[in-house]
């Protein structure tokens, strides 16, 4: 399933729903391509509430103001080891402080570049947090719209989950 690329918006009004999600997709691809040199593709896009993360490390960052929501980037441990090897030159064999830091930074960059690309004034990003542990669960409020982008790359799969509420109530 392909996701339409979102052109950068210079308008302050909230973009259409599909454009909003596509922005996170574009920025995720750019972050992984620029920082890691990885070509990541979207296998599918699903909706879920109360998603049980299948992966081992999740970076979480909230946004507030004009658009309220949370971005979650979930990765398998092996994938983070490969990312660490690309960034740092050596491959760890467990989830270290550097791994936690790395996932937090990737989440921060995806959130920050998405916020910039959306071009909506009044959005504030929170500080990223990272959860590590197999089988952890990240849930959203029932009223939130949730979209899950299932990415894949040579190092393995990961998901980018966006739970949000647009001011129009859509």
């Amino acid at each position: 399933m392909s996701v339409a690329l979102a052109p950068k918006s210079n308008e302050s009004k909230v973009p259409a729903y599909d454009n909003f999600i596509a922005t996170f997709a574009v920025c995720t691809k750019k972050v992984f391509s620029t920082m890691l040199g990885w070509d990541v593709v979207i296998d599918q896009q699903t909706k879920s509430k109360g998603f049980l993360a299948k992966y081992d490390v999740s970076g979480i960052i909230g946004f507030s103001g004009a658009v309220r929501g949370t971005l979650v980037v979930s990765c398998a441990a092996e994938m983070t080891y490969s990312a660490a090897e690309s960034f740092l030159g050596s491959r760890p064999n467990e989830i270290t402080d550097d791994i936690v830091d790395l996932v937090g930074e990737l989440t921060n960059m995806i959130g920050g570049s998405s916020k910039d690309r959306l071009g909506i004034s009044g959005i504030e990003l929170g500080l990223p947090a990272v959860i590590s542990g197999i089988g952890h669960r990240v849930s959203f409020q029932p009223s939130a719209h949730v979209e899950i982008l299932h990415f894949n790359c040579d190092a393995g799969p990961f998901t980018v989950e966006i739970g949000f509420r647009l001011p129009t109530g859509k």
Binding site: N10, K30, V31, T34, M35, G37, F87, L88, G89, D97, D98, D101, L102, G104, E105, N108, M109, G111, G112, S113, K115, D116, S121, L125, L127
Partner: protein, 169 residues
Amino acid sequence: MIHRTKLSLETLINFQISRSLFLTSSKFNQDLLVTAMHSRFVYSTKEKKTMKVLVADDSGVMRKIIIRALNSVGVNDVIEAANGQEAIDAFKANPVDMILTDWNMPEKTGLDVVTEIRATGSEIPIIMVTTEAQKSQVIAAIQAGVSDYLTKPFDSDDLRAKIDKFVAV
């Protein structure tokens, strides 16, 4: 040795900030941006291989990424700081030629770092490396004395392009 050079308005705009950001600013902000940029646009006559660069970021991983990128473009003498106060202390203790600083840091922010270093009279190039690219923040950074802006994500070519503006060819 640091020397100033007068550049055309067009060159300043192309060098310092994106064209779209500048063109979407009000006339008042455009004048402010140009004035602020011009006052901080300085060159260093040092070559990259002899430069000492201070890297300030609370993320250990990001510091390592930046240092690897610096090494790849020929800069090998690097000092690290994990927060804003460490950055200011390192600047006072070491004759650095350039600073790359994050915006959001504990103790003191990147903006605090820029403000305090400029208050000493130092004119060394200071590059803000951050995900925060909103117009108001860019303006605040330039007003404080930032020389340029590098937004994350970036690769070594992006970093090289920023550094090359401020060093001897």
